[in-house]
């Protein structure tokens, strides 16, 4: 029986965590534009060279 007194705060804590994540997502504008991020992830391959920097890629990509 007493286990439920432990479970209730635990479940509230977890749900509170999700609520916090949701509030953070809304506040940071992630619900404003649900379309562009899906395009961004396709383009940004993370191997962009800064001017003067050596390429991190060994071979230039073939397109």
């Amino acid at each position: 029986m007493n286990v439920i007194l432990l479970l209730i705060p635990l479940s509230l804590l977890m749900a509170g965590g999700f609520l916090w994540a949701f509030v953070w997502a809304v506040r940071s504008g992630q619900y404003e534009d649900t379309c562009t991020p899906s395009m961004r992830v396709l383009a940004d391959d993370g191997t962009i060279r800064r001017p003067g920097e050596k390429s991190t890629e060994t071979e230039p990509r073939k397109s």
């Binding site: 509230l12 506040r27 404003e32 383009a43 940004d44 962009i48």
Partner: protein
């Protein structure tokens, strides 16, 4: 452009998209964006500035693929003073954060321009911030309500299944207090908008749907809080949170907006942000609102005349199709009046402004009263009319039940009173309209008919008079009864003429080219010359071709027969220095229009207002029938007045138009429908934006709105049945939290499913349900082909 990118290490741009190297327009001359750095403009254009960083949002119509997003978000590599740039693809905007000490706003705009993404700067951008789509606040309210709903429901489950008998009264108390704690933010924050709007409704002595909702909420909360505090039970907090969660869900569903369309444009969205002012011997770009009466401005080919003015030097050839709907350009010499909104189609011309921008012939339309108030304020929705009656009935039943029990058994009186208000809380009633209308709005959106918001459907259902503009709305420029008079052209001649006509962007030239489109191989063009607004000449293969107005051909030394200067659109053709004939270019009624007008004419009044001369009165008389008013030569203010007079005679008017000259009438009408060839193009402020090819299904759309409103009423009936069942239990004073927790979600779910299904079904019945590509949806970059 490639050099800039290679220097910045962004060569990858070309790898991302094969067609990334689009046509890059001629880059703006140096100093083109200098006016942005004047404090008055800068302060009103930037979103945010704290001295160290500045954030500005530019509209960039050129954004069309992944490579654009990637390039624009890597601006910081091209200029180290730029911090972060963030693209909003559906809206075609980029938000740039930069260090104002190291780079100026004008330089940022110039950088975008040099990359082939010229910012689209309009006078309206100075107006301030743009609204969020679904407001963040609404999302947060939904989150809070959902959180409380889920948790209180879980707390209540043991009670519903009789499991808490084992755990004792102390456990019940704990659950009760926890639920009360969770319910507090729901009542105060998540329901905040309902409290506010019902308070406003109360102050204005009118009844809206929010009033009974708030009554129900207050009754649930107080009754439950009393139970918890007194230790009598756990209350109905789960039902309350669930109810609000569904209501807010309905609100989110109703907030469908079309990102690429703007329904609230006024003249400021059409005018550029800057003009080229000439003072002394120098030319400088200044912001439009810094323009003073008496200033000299230079208007180039294709630019809008910013204010009413007189021609100072040069010849103005002004296309007023934007303002009047008349597509033939007008030629004006020195001293003549030029009105704001006209588009210069000749070479550069110098104008002396005679009126302030906001006082012009066209812009003064926006000073009319009709533009001051928003339509939503005056709109009385079906839901509100129902809730007026509903609320009084509920209050009567609640008071009656309380009175009965006070006499029969006083202990039950308060509970019965509260139970009636709880059960009668018109949750399902409030959901019927958002879900039915929201579904209908999406159905119409798939068919190229875009509504400003879902309540426009209710307005459309009540329309009993439809007023049409002619040019651009009922007629279209091409595929008309265009004809060539003169000896027939042989295929070689036709190909030569078409090759020359295709070189020009003038609408009449395009029309000539389309008329001759059947030809085969096109000859090579040599020595092409265009005299803007007059005509074109070039050598095409073996032939020397001249296309243009009779006056221009005469001026170039070709004998055009006298008296040949006809009305309207004529393009004369001369081959090898001799007149060959004349193209007479008409405008034709769009396909499907005659049938639609005939059908519509049987149901409601129809009328035609045109800015044109009455050349085509007879053919339109046949289309509109004998009784319908046909008025020609109507200016913007006259159109507005016509609609207003029609309304004063008791009609609910829908105005269908396309140009700025219809803007007043579109706004005055109960429903304003703007017809556009391309939904991304500019259209005047309106309630509905419709693709030109869809005008023909207008009669079906009106019929659909009527049926949809009927579905809303049927939804009310369904929810009323649930309410009646609940009321019977409540008035007898036997309402348990369990019954409440089942009845409320069940009635809401029934209404939602009924609303969505019926709206779709009626669309299918009327042939509106089919899928067509949603132009506001994102085109997949792979299928998007643009001329390179």
């Amino acid at each position: 452009m490639f050099e800039i990118l290679a220097e910045g290490g962004l060569g990858q741009f070309y790898e991302l998209s094969a067609d990334a190297g689009r046509r890059v327009g001629t880059a703006a001359p140096a100093g083109h964006y200098g006016f942005l750095d004047t404090p008055a403009v800068r302060e009103r254009l930037v979103d945010f500035s704290d001295g160290a960083t500045t954030r500005v949002t530019f509209a960039i119509p050129e954004i069309h693929c992944i490579a654009c997003v990637w390039l624009l978000e890597n601006l910081f590599r091209l200029n180290p003073a730029i911090g972060r740039s963030h693209v909003d693809f559906p809206r075609k905007q980029v938000a740039v954060t930069f260090d104002p000490a190291r780079v100026e706003l004008g330089a940022v705009a110039a950088l975008l321009d040099s990359l082939g993404y010229p910012p689209d700067l309009r006078l309206a951008d100075l107006g301030g911030r743009r609204a969020h789509r679904v407001p963040r606040r609404l999302w947060l309210q939904l989150g809070i309500a959902g959180f409380a709903f889920g948790n209180t429901m879980l707390f209540s489950l043991p009670a519903y299944f009789g499991l808490d008998a084992a755990s004792g009264p102390s456990f019940q108390r704990l659950v009760g207090w926890l639920s009360l704690l969770l319910a507090l933010p729901v009542v105060s924050f998540a329901a905040g908008d309902y409290w506010r709007s019902s308070w406003q409704a109360w102050k204005q002595r009118r009844m809206s749907i929010e009033v009974p909702i708030v009554l129900g909420l207050a009754a649930i909360f107080l009754q439950s809080a009393a139970e918890v505090v007194s230790g009598a039970g756990v209350g109905y907090f789960d039902s309350m949170a669930g109810l609000l969660f569904f209501l807010l869900l309905g609100r989110v569903f109703q907030q469908k907006t079309y990102d690429r369309l703007a329904f609230d444009r006024d003249y400021r969205s059409f005018f550029p942000l800057s003009v080229l002012r000439k003072s002394g011997g120098t030319e400088e770009r200044v912001a439009l609102d810094q323009l003073r009466v008496g200033d000299r401005v230079v208007v180039r080919h294709g630019e809008l005349v910013p204010a009413d003015a007189r021609v100072a030097s040069g010849t103005a050839v002004v296309d007023y199709s934007f303002v009047t709907g008349e597509s033939t350009p007008v030629e004006l010499g020195a001293g003549a009046w030029v009105y704001a909104g006209g588009r210069q189609v000749g070479g550069a011309v110098e104008l002396e402004t005679a009126k302030a921008v906001s006082q012009g012939y066209l812009t003064s339309l926006w000073n009319q009263d009709v533009f001051r108030k928003t339509k939503d304020d005056t709109f009385d929705s079906t839901t509100n009319r129902y809730s007026r009656r509903f609320t009084w009935i509920i209050l009567a039943i609640a008071v009656g039940a309380a009175a009965y029990w006070t006499w029969a058994r006083p202990a039950l009186a308060v509970k019965a009173f509260a139970s009636v208000l709880i059960v009668a809380c018109p949750c399902a009633l409030a959901l019927a309209a958002p879900f039915t209308l929201g579904t209908a709005q999406r159905v119409l959106g798939r068919r190229g008919i875009f509504l400003r918001n879902s309540s426009v459907i209710e307005s459309m259902a009540r329309v009993d008079a439809v007023v049409f503009d002619k040019t651009g709305t009922l007629t279209q420029p091409r595929r008309g009864d265009d004809a060539f008079s003169g000896p027939a052209l042989d295929p070689v001649e036709a190909a030569a003429v078409r090759a020359v006509a295709e070189q020009s962007m003038h609408p009449l030239s395009r029309q000539v080219a389309a008329l001759l489109a059947a030809g085969g191989e096109l000859p090579v063009i040599m020595g092409f010359e265009e005299s803007p607004g007059n005509g074109t000449r070039a050598r095409a293969g073996e032939r020397e071709v001249r296309l243009g107005s009779a006056r221009w051909l005469r001026a170039t030394g070709i004998g055009v027969p006298d008296g040949a200067e006809g009305a309207g659109n004529e393009v004369w053709l001369a081959l090898d220095g001799r007149v060959r004939g004349v193209f007479r270019l008409g405008s034709a009624v769009r396909p499907g229009i005659p049938g639609m007008l005939a059908g519509l004419g049987r149901r409601c009044r129809i009328a035609l207002l045109s800015g044109d001369q009455p050349r085509e009165r007879e053919s339109f008389r046949r289309l509109f029938g004998d009784g319908a008013p046909l008025q020609f030569g109507q200016g913007p203010a006259e159109k507005l007045r016509f609609v207003r007079e029609l309304q004063e005679s008791g009609a609910r008017v829908m105005m269908v138009g396309d140009g700025l000259n219809d803007a007043g009438a579109l706004r005055q009408g109960d429903v304003g429908m703007a017809v556009v060839e391309d939904v991304a193009a500019f259209s005047p402020a309106s309630d509905v934006i419709v693709e030109a090819s869809r005008v023909a299904c207008l009669a079906d759309v009106l019929e659909y709105s009527r049926r949809v409103v009927r579905v809303v009423r049927q939804g009310f009936l369904v929810s009323a049945l649930y309410n009646a069942a609940g009321l019977a239990i409540a008035a007898s004073g036997r309402l348990s939290p369990f019954v409440c927790a089942v009845l409320m979600p069940l009635s809401s779910a029934t209404v939602v499913v009924f609303a969505c299904a019926m709206a779709e079904w009626h669309a299918r019945r009327l042939g509106l349900g089919g899928e067509t590509p949603d132009p506001t949806a994102v085109e997949s970059p792979a299928t998007e082909a643009r001329p390179s």
